[in-house]
């Protein structure tokens, strides 16, 4: 088990602010700085070697299309910090998307209500995962593989073995068109950034948020320290489910007036890739939402770059795979250095 960098919040009588400040790691880690550098270098290269990269359309679609994966990535970060994983988010996206699409086609519904429906459905799916994993005490990957199948069944049943056509343009506010801009940026991107900022504050600066780190670092010690481990685990999946619902709305907004059965496929792997590229330890206990946002940006930059360079689009998957290996390898090296350092200190 990896070491916990963030200990559970100090008890009421613990010495105040000064120590707490020392206990918190620096707001930006090495991996995040490296990622910023890599992304900047990629953008520079793409600007030099393609004609169309630094145009408004390319940059806006880059930010818009990264939003669904980044939004799910926020939740996935929390899950992975607790030492879990969720491979059912693609199937969850499909269920939320088809319910929203059918609602839009059959009833006149305002955008906030649609988002609320999607978020609620997603949260229920997340609750199913959370209850099974936390209270069934079973490995997260196995359970979410299973629920991915169940969710897919439910989604396909609602689809009725057809695509949903003629969807109204209400959700275009989450698209990359003119109606979906705030301060010149895609609305979906802005919402994701705001949510990431909230999650960042929650995870770093509240007792409840730091309990996630405690659960992932050492669940047994966390339980002895008074953390309700199972509730924390469950909450992580519910949060992710809710974000999956939001991401489903983004995806509909980005798409055409048709929702197909394969909507959201592959997002589970993309979200996990963004999280681990962002420096979150898959063993739990360490990681940050900021890294995940940068990871999602890197993945989207790679696929945009491959398209811009007119290479076969499937090559971007190879580059994502290599990026995962490099990012996790760097993390392993740092872990080793940290261990050596603490050994020498003793």
């Amino acid at each position: 088990m990896s070491t916990t960098t963030l200990p559970p919040a100090p008890a009421a009588d613990a010495p105040p602010a000064k120590i707490r400040r020392r206990v918190l790691p620096s707001p930006v880690t090495g991996q995040e700085l490296v990622l910023i550098g890599v992304i900047a270098a990629l953008w520079l290269l793409l600007g030099l070697f393609t004609n169309g990269f630094f145009t408004e359309l390319t940059l806006i679609s880059l930010l818009g299309y990264m939003a669904p994966v980044a939004a799910i990535g926020i939740g996935m970060t929390i899950i992975i910090i607790t030492g879990g994983i969720d491979v059912s988010v693609a199937a969850g996206t499909m269920v939320c998307a088809v319910i929203v699409a059918k609602t839009m086609v059959n009833y006149e519904t305002s955008v906030p209500v649609l988002v609320l429906i999607a978020v609620a459905v997603g949260a229920v799916l997340g609750l199913i995962n959370g209850v099974l994993i936390a209270y069934g005490r079973v490995q997260a990957i196995i359970i979410t593989f299973g629920t991915a199948n169940l969710f897919q069944f439910v989604g396909l049943q609602i689809f009725g073995s057809n695509t949903v056509n003629g969807i109204p343009r209400d959700l275009k506010v989450f698209g990359i068109g003119a109606e979906g801009r705030v301060l010149g940026l895609p609305l979906a991107f802005v919402i994701t950034i705001v949510l990431a900022a909230l999650a960042w504050v929650y995870l770093r600066h509240t007792a409840g948020g730091r309990h996630f780190y405690a659960v992932g670092g050492d669940a047994h010690a966390a339980r002895l320290a008074g953390v309700r481990v199972q509730r924390r685990q469950m909450l992580a999946y519910v949060i992710t489910g809710a974000l999956v619902g939001l991401a489903a709305c983004f995806t509909i907004g980005l798409g055409t007036s048709t929702v197909q059965q394969n909507i959201g496929s592959g997002t589970e792997l993309a979200a996990i890739a963004a999280v681990v590229i962002g420096g979150t330890s898959i063993m739990g206990g360490r990681g940050s939402v900021l890294g995940t946002i940068l990871g999602a940006l890197l993945v989207q930059t790679v696929s945009t770059g491959v398209t811009q360079l007119k290479w076969p689009s499937q090559l971007s998957d190879l580059f994502v795979g290599i990026a995962i290996v490099i990012a996790v390898g760097a993390d392993l090296l740092r872990e080793r250095a940290r261990k050596n350092k603490s050994r020498r200190a003793r």
Binding site: I85, G136, A140, G146, N149, Q152, V276, L318, G321
Partner: protein, 366 residues
């Protein structure tokens, strides 16, 4: 994802029948701890259910010996990949191979090139596929065993990598041709068994050419060789294994290589079945990794490592395949594949919860 094997509470019923345990609790314990017993019971339940439904006229087609024998063609790749997953899961430390479907796609393309484009004879071409699969497995094994990557992440990365190369290598086009088309008629057909075959349905030859040899070899490796002992020891507790003089890294590395070799063989099987080498053979739809992991877990392989039986995995494969054969017959319309998804998911969750319960209550399955 805990890396430590859970410490189960002291088994309540460790002193068996001698202490006068009732018949009921003994049966229950056999059902819960002997996974093969449970699977056989479930298998009989599935067969009886569908045969009764057939007799009552509720099925759209016959659920008889011919159906069951024909379904075995699906058992060949699934059971082989489940055995591959078993090898890596047994090696412990969260061992798992998400890339196994992409490995099948990639090695299938390489096999296609070797057999069709380069004109190699069949056996050398199969050897090329096995070596290619072994190399894919070696990359996984090197990352995981020697560099210390978590298996989930290493194989996620190679899942992307192999799938991408398989698609790009021939510009997304399958490898087809007369040689590969000929493979279909020779390797994917069904044959009458000698001597007793006249009274039995025809069995797909893939069972004899590919599945049975793999089962026998994997069984012998795991149960009858020193390597198998080392693999179980590594998966149970690799620190203890290291102190006992086992080269833990080498043992774990070889498990991934073996899994890759099996995936290479599966690529030959799927190429023969599709009569072409498809670049998405192992990744289309839900991919092949998911059913393979499901069957391994259902077959009693402990996801924490160190516990597995070949017989359990093969029987679990039979259960899934024969269940899948019956579902489309029992469901009106075209919803059959959807209900197969439901069944697979429900079975996986059931098996995982059961494994967890057995571990806590009895200290593990056997």
């Amino acid at each position: 994802m805990s890396t430590t094997t859970p410490t189960p509470p002291a088994p309540q019923a460790s002193s068996p029948a001698a202490t006068g345990e009732s018949v009921g609790s003994r049966v229950l314990r056999a059902l819960l701890t002997q996974r093969t017993v449970l699977i056989v019971v479930l298998l009989v339940a599935v067969l009886v259910t569908f045969v009764v439904m057939d007799a009552g006229g509720y099925l759209t087609g016959p659920y008889d010996g011919d159906t069951l024998a024909a379904a075995l063609i699906n058992l060949v790749p699934l059971a082989m990949l489940a055995l591959a997953e078993m090898l890596v899961i047994v090696s412990g430390r969260g061992g798992i191979d998400l890339s196994i479907g992409s490995t099948v796609s990639l090695t299938g393309m390489i096999f296609g090139f070797a057999y069709q484009s380069w004109g190699l004879p069949l056996l050398p071409a199969i050897l090329v596929a096995m070596v290619a699969g072994g190399l894919c497995g070696a990359i996984n094994g090197f990352l995981i065993a020697y560099l210390g990557f978590p298996a989930l992440i290493a194989t996620l990365a190679t899942y992307y990598g192999y799938a991408s190369i398989a698609l790009v290598i021939n510009d997304q086009k399958p490898v087809t041709g007369d040689d590969i088309a000929g493979l279909y008629s020779s390797a994917a057909q069904s044959v009458e068994l000698p001597l007793i075959g006249a009274n039995l349905p025809d069995i797909p030859v893939g069972v004899f050419y590919f599945l049975l040899p793999t089962v026998v070899v994997v069984y012998l490796v795991m149960a009858r060789t020193a390597y198998g002992r080392r693999l179980f020891a590594t998966g149970t507790n690799d620190v203890a294994g290291h102190f006992a003089g086992i080269d833990v890294r080498d043992t774990r590395f070889k498990a991934y290589v073996l899994a890759g070799v099996i995936a290479g063989l599966v690529a030959v099987v799927t190429t023969a079945q599709f009569a072409s080498a498809r670049p998405d053979a192992g990744t289309s739809g839900n991919g092949m990794a998911l059913p393979a992991i499901t069957i391994a877990v259902l077959g009693g392989v402990a996801i924490t490592g160190g516990i597995a039986r070949v017989a359990g995995v093969v029987l679990a494969g039979l259960l899934v395949v024969w269940l899948n054969a019956g579902i489309p017959l029992a469901i009106e319309g075209n919803d059959g594949p959807q209900f197969q998804l439901l069944a697979l998911g429900a079975v996986l969750i059931f098996a995982a919860l059961l494994n967890g319960l057995t571990t806590r209550r009895y200290g593990g399955t056997r």
